[in-house]
């Protein structure tokens, strides 16, 4: 892991991600460590063509280098219950 790599832990549970707002720098590698607190959730960040399954008890790592600035939504793409459609968060990429 590079010294400047951004490692961010994200917790998924019905029906939210914590933290719900994440800020990273463009061009600096990012590792998202995804964990579920309760059930099978999904992670989908379409802007960077990323998705992953998040299962309880398993840390899922998603690595990428953000190459554009802006605010991007990631969301759960595994139907997880009554509230699933509200399960999203924001990734902000800055210079």
């Amino acid at each position: 892991m590079r010294n400047d790599e951004q490692v961010i832990r994200i917790s998924a549970s019905t029906f939210e991600y914590k933290p719900s707002e994440i800020t990273v720098k463009r061009g600096v590698p990012v590792t998202l460590e995804l964990m579920s607190q309760d059930r099978h959730h999904g992670f989908k960040l379409s802007a960077f063509q990323l998705r992953a399954d998040i299962q309880p008890g398993v840390v899922e790592k998603v690595r990428f280098v953000p190459d554009k600035i802006g605010k991007f939504t990631f969301l759960c793409d595994v139907f997880c219950g009554d509230g699933h459609e509200d399960m999203s968060a924001t990734l902000t990429v800055i210079e």
């Binding site: 379409s46 969301l75 793409d77 595994v78 139907f79 997880c80 009554d82």
Partner: protein
């Protein structure tokens, strides 16, 4: 047909994908006399979400489905059958409540005059338990039936919470289609759109492209689905896809707002955006006339 209550504009869709919008007067192939051997009609209801409770979204959540049943029963000409395209009930984690809702839904729709009723699951009905409860009450998640020369295929793209049909069901579909003649009239009934309407809004099927590729060699295929809570029409090649309105709440047009959200109830226009449809199958021409109905206020 001219005496049907709450008649609205008639959208006629030719088998080769040409849409002709006809408004106002009755239109029926061959004149006013119904040709039983060549056409029939059925009613599609969708996304009834029985068990939903949200007064700001639908203050008549306990009454809308019953009104729809009454409206179908009041049609001058009864359909040959009725089909529900998924999300019969509102999802819940509680196994007992899930089954209670399915039982209540079943009891309400048993009041339909027409006793031939076809069901399919939506993700609200089947995604949390792989369709176990749904199958207890309504039978198979995917199946086929034939009616007056049209082959209906009910596809399940909801019991997998990842919104996929899956390889096993895809093989089942391929085997079924191999038994069809090239010009067979086929109607696919499913819940989610098979094409990528709005994937970030969950308006897609993960392996929908494979399903469409399987259907594409056949020239007379039409898809009816629900899930998106609005009328929508789309072509993939020669295959027409028609989404139906919900009977609980409406949703915005794809991409029209940053985040998908239930459209609040409008007291000045109750039941706006909710409704059901008649589908008249003109078998010989492989054409389908779709007529949308709103919910009456009574």
């Amino acid at each position: 047909m001219s005496d049907l209550m709450n008649r609205r504009d008639l959208l006629k869709l030719a088998g080769m994908g040409v849409a002709v919008f006809v408004s106002g007067t009755t239109v029926r192939a061959g004149g006013s006399a119904q040709k039983k051997d060549e056409s029939f009609y059925f009613v599609q209801l969708s996304d009834t979400h029985w068990g939903f409770n949200g007064p700001n979204i639908n203050p008549d959540s306990q009454g809308t489905l019953k009104k729809a049943v009454a409206a179908v029963n009041a049609l001058d000409e009864q359909p040959d059958f009725v089909v529900f395209t998924g999300d019969l009930t509102q999802t819940t984690d509680d196994r007992k409540i899930r089954r209670d809702r399915m039982a209540e839904f079943r009891d309400i729709v048993s009041q339909l005059k027409i006793k031939t009723v076809r069901f399919m699951a939506g993700e609200h009905d089947a995604s949390l338990d792989r369709g176990d409860a749904y199958q207890e009450f309504f039978g198979d998640l995917h199946y086929t039936f034939d009616h007056n020369g049209v082959h209906f295929i009910v596809l399940d793209n909801v019991s997998d919470p990842m919104a996929a049909v899956g390889e096993k069901q895809l093989q089942w579909l391929q085997a079924d289609l191999q038994q069809m003649k090239h010009d067979s009239r086929i109607v696919v009934l499913t819940h989610r759109p098979l094409f990528d309407l709005a994937p970030d809004w969950d308006w897609a099927t993960r392996d929908g492209a494979a399903v469409i590729d399987t259907l594409m060699p056949l020239p007379n295929v039409t898809v009816l689905y629900g899930h998106i809570h609005q009328e929508h029409h789309h072509m993939t090649g020669h295959i027409a896809h028609h989404a139906a309105k919900s009977l609980m709440w409406a949703l915005p047009e794809p991409g029209s707002v940053p985040k998908k959200a239930q459209i609040p109830w409008n007291a000045a226009a109750p039941y706006k955006g909710l409704g059901f449809r008649n589908v008249e199958a003109e078998v010989a021409q492989a054409q389908y006339e779709i007529e949308e109905f709103s919910i009456s206020r009574g």
